[in-house]
């Protein structure tokens, strides 16, 4: 059991220098943590393109502010804690992008900045940094501004106040609000392609599916989680549809509207704040889906996904405890 580790590039001597190190000795079995984060960014690309297309420079503005603030926040907070800065792992960028995508395009600049600082400071570093946090940092930031700036984040905040020169989407209410307040039902086509109002990243089901598929294929995201979410929502919404054939929102609306796909594929799949085992991930996904449906049916908040993710984040340690897998061959026999 040799503990000496390798890795000094200073070994430029002539004779081959060999080292003692623990096995396994081969690398390349998997992506590094940094690559996983880069992957998430790549997966978010389609979402980015659609949101730029729909919201134009409103999207670019919020995105730039959030990413910038998150990176700065990470830098400041790690410096304050005298830790080595870990900007290299891109996780702050990912948090920034996801936070921006969950804000309305009309969000004032200070909301974006404060949300970012809350995400990094409270959501991540207060717990001890990447890997230690219990809650999804971006969702913590989102929840923070939601409570601090109720009006800017409420349904009305999504609609631009001036009418001239804003993208079309920003002049309408979000599909969920439209349904709740006016009984208007968005067309499934609009929900699919993303031509509606809403948080920057949530409008297009198509973009989310495309990017999400990439993450699933790369195995950067665990497939059980999005599937669990969709399954729960599909079943509950399907049940509601069957009981009330006049329901305005069909299963399709529930699956494609209200940030569900974005949440299922990009937010809930954050490895740090989701369970370790396959069975745990199923429970986690199904739980999120069920809570989303509960909130949609009973509460006035359209942000069901955010609360659902935060709630399920809180029980991840418990889920991990419940789902310790039975080892192949059974548990270790105890010689009492």
């Amino acid at each position: 059991m040799t503990q000496e580790t390798v890795n000094n590039d200073a070994t430029e001597t002539e004779a081959p220098v060999t080292h003692v190190a623990p096995g396994p000795h081969l690398g390349g079995g998997c992506l590094t943590a940094r690559w996983m984060m880069l992957d998430v960014l790549i997966g978010l690309l389609p979402v980015l393109l659609v949101s730029l297309w729909v919201f134009g420079w409103y999207a670019a503005r919020v995105l730039a502010i959030c990413v910038g603030s998150c990176v700065v926040a990470e830098g400041i907070f790690t410096a304050m804690r005298r830790r080595q800065c870990r900007l290299g792992d891109f996780s702050a960028v990912v948090t920034g992008v996801i936070l921006a995508f969950s804000l309305p395009g009309t969000a004032p600049w200070y909301v974006a900045v404060i949300g970012s600082f809350a995400a990094i400071g409270i959501g991540k570093l207060a717990f001890g940094g990447l890997g230690q946090n219990i809650f999804n940092p971006a969702m913590v930031g989102r929840a923070f501004v939601m409570i601090a700036f109720t009006s800017a984040m409420a349904a009305g905040g999504y609609v631009a106040s001036e009418k001239a020169g804003v993208p079309d989407a920003l002049t309408q209410a979000t599909p969920m609000t439209a349904l709740q307040q006016e009984g208007k039902v968005a067309s499934l086509g609009d929900l699919f392609w993303g031509d509606t109002n809403g948080s920057l990243g949530e409008t297009s089901a198509f973009a989310c599916l495309l990017g999400g598929l990439y993450l699933l294929i790369r195995r950067t995201a665990a497939w059980q989680i999005p599937l669990g979410v969709l399954l729960a929502v599909g079943i509950i919404a399907g049940g509601q549809n069957l009981m009330d054939l006049q329901a305005k929102w069909t299963v399709g609306h529930h699956l494609m509207g209200g940030a569900l796909l974005f949440g299922a594929l990009f937010i809930a799949t954050d490895p740090v704040t989701s369970p370790l085992t396959g069975r745990g991930r199923w429970i986690f996904g199904l739980g999120i889906g069920a809570i989303v449906m509960l909130l949609r049916s009973l509460s006035a908040y359209p942000e069901g996904v955010m609360f659902a993710v935060l709630l399920m984040n809180a029980v991840v340690p418990l889920i991990n405890r419940w789902t310790v897998p039975r080892p192949v061959g059974g548990p270790v026999p105890s010689k009492a």
């Binding site: 003692v20 000795h25 690398g27």
Partner: protein, 463 residues
């Protein structure tokens, strides 16, 4: 447990596991060469799982090849023999790659030696009977195997006679011949199957007689089609079955082989014997044939010296006790970018600190990796991605076991079944944070208070 009740369908594979590049082409086509007799060998008195032997010889005493030089009364043990003809020197201590310090008996070579082709003929060549083996009774076979000092040649080096001994409480119905060789780079078993299939078949028939197995299955990964073909041909006229298994690491692990080949799940902390199977490496099988038919002890073994860090990768027939350094020299030495010298394969092997460490009965090879091959990323924080869970062949949660071991939280370690881990390394191989999971788990297993450690399980690669 009755074996017939445990029958599940055998799928030819097991769940999870990893697929490292096998890199076997480096040495796969190099025929087994006999290493010239070294000037000196140091035969360790403990080369197996079990009790250390007491030396039977004194310094300056003359010994001949195959003469017994160490013996132990313990049940789980195996005697050791002189692997060259020569004079015994003052006994010394060597550190084996796994960190164990053991006493050795050094022997200085005489001029007259059995070597080269004659040695190969004596050990693996010639005719091996496949019929008329009933003249060897089960007890006689077991005794011969014990006297020859045969231990599992796949890695863990468990004394073979203990496995073959008839056990009334646990009847055996299947003998599994393990030719999987799942570690990357290693090709010794593969070459042995190609070059000495008859010895392997003969040994398998004898082993099956000894343990009472009714069927013999040769398990070979499907990346070795020529080995499968050769073994099929050699098995003609016997009722041995050759079964090709999916290529996957760690297919050669005893429990994985049993699961993949006959669909039985070996209980945690138990042995294949508990589900009616005995697993025997192909090299071990050839040694059994030699011990019973030719009455010769285990003095030599076939191993692979490979990797991009060695100039001429080879498969070698070497006397036990030869130093790793001599093998490296014989294979042309290290290349300039050699970065790590490993006893065994790159997944489960141990790095060698000193090159004068002796080869033991369980040494399956020597792998030299270059700077490009070895993993380099720095350790970062665990991101809870669960990849270590997704690949563990035993369905363990490596992230939690490592955490428990880091914090000395034995209750947590126990809850996550830390002692069930066979240290195969799949988890650490895929970990994106480069956490030395196996090292942490191993540390945890060693430090965990014995009261909560019921039994320690290890991966026996083919045993």
């Amino acid at each position: 447990m009755g074996s017939t009740t445990m029958k599940l369908s055998a799928k030819g594979t097991f769940a999870r596991g990893v697929h490292p590049h096998d890199e076997k082409s480096l040495a796969a086509d190099v025929a087994i060469e006999v290493v010239p007799t070294p000037a000196k060998v140091s035969v360790p008195l403990l080369q197996h799982l079990g009790a250390q032997c007491e030396p039977l010889v004194k310094a300056r005493q003359q010994v001949v090849l195959g003469e017994k030089i160490g013996e132990s009364e313990a049940f789980i043990s195996a005697p050791v023999h002189a692997t060259i003809t020569g004079t015994v020197a003052m006994s010394s201590v060597a550190t084996l790659p796994n960190g164990r310090h053991v006493k050795t008996v050094p022997i200085k070579a005489d001029e007259q030696q059995l070597s080269g082709d004659a040695l190969f003929e004596d050990i693996l060549g010639g005719d091996w009977p496949k019929t008329g083996l009933d003249r060897y009774g089960p007890d006689a076979i077991v005794t011969a195997v014990r006297e020859a000092g045969i231990v599992g040649q796949g890695g863990a080096a468990f004394p073979t006679y203990v496995k073959l001994k008839l056990n009334d409480a646990k009847p055996v119905d299947t003998l599994l011949l393990n030719g999987c060789e799942c570690e990357p780079y290693l090709t010794a078993d593969y070459r042995l199957m190609l070059e000495a299939p008859d010895a392997i078949v003969c040994g398998a028939l004898l082993a099956a007689r000894a343990c009472g197995a009714k069927r013999i299955i040769v398990a070979i990964e499907d990346n070795k089609p020529s080995a499968i073909e050769t073994m099929l041909k050699a098995a003609e006229g016997t009722d041995m079955i050759v079964r090709s298994l999916k290529t996957k690491y760690p297919m050669g692990g005893e429990k994985q082989t049993v699961l993949a080949a006959i669909g039985r799940e070996v209980p945690t902390g138990g042995l294949p014997l508990d589900v009616g199977a005995v697993v025997c490496n192909v090299g071990t099988s050839a040694a059994i044939a030699r011990a019973v038919v030719r009455d010769k002890a285990l003095t030599h073994r076939v191993l692979t010296v490979s990797g991009r860090g060695i100039r001429n990768p080879k498969n070698l027939l070497v006397p036990i006790g030869i130093s790793y350094g001599e093998l490296i020299d014989y294979c042309g030495g290290l290349t300039e970018d050699a970065a790590r010298v490993i006893a065994g394969g790159p997944m489960m092997g141990f790095t060698l600190g000193e090159l004068d460490t002796p080869v033991t009965k369980g040494t399956s090879g020597l792998t030299v990796l270059t700077r490009d091959d070895v993993r380099k990323a720095d350790e970062t924080a665990c991101v809870h991605c669960g990849k270590c869970v997704d690949v563990c062949p035993l369905k363990l949660v490596a992230a939690k076991m490592a955490l428990a071991s880091k914090h000395g939280d034995w209750e947590l370690a126990r809850r996550y079944h830390i002692t069930a881990c066979m240290e195969c390394g799949c988890c650490a191989y895929v970990c994106p944070a480069s956490i030395p999971l196996v090292q942490l788990i191993r540390l945890g297993k060693a430090q965990m208070p014995k009261k909560i450690t019921p039994r320690r399980t290890e991966l026996r690669c083919g045993a």
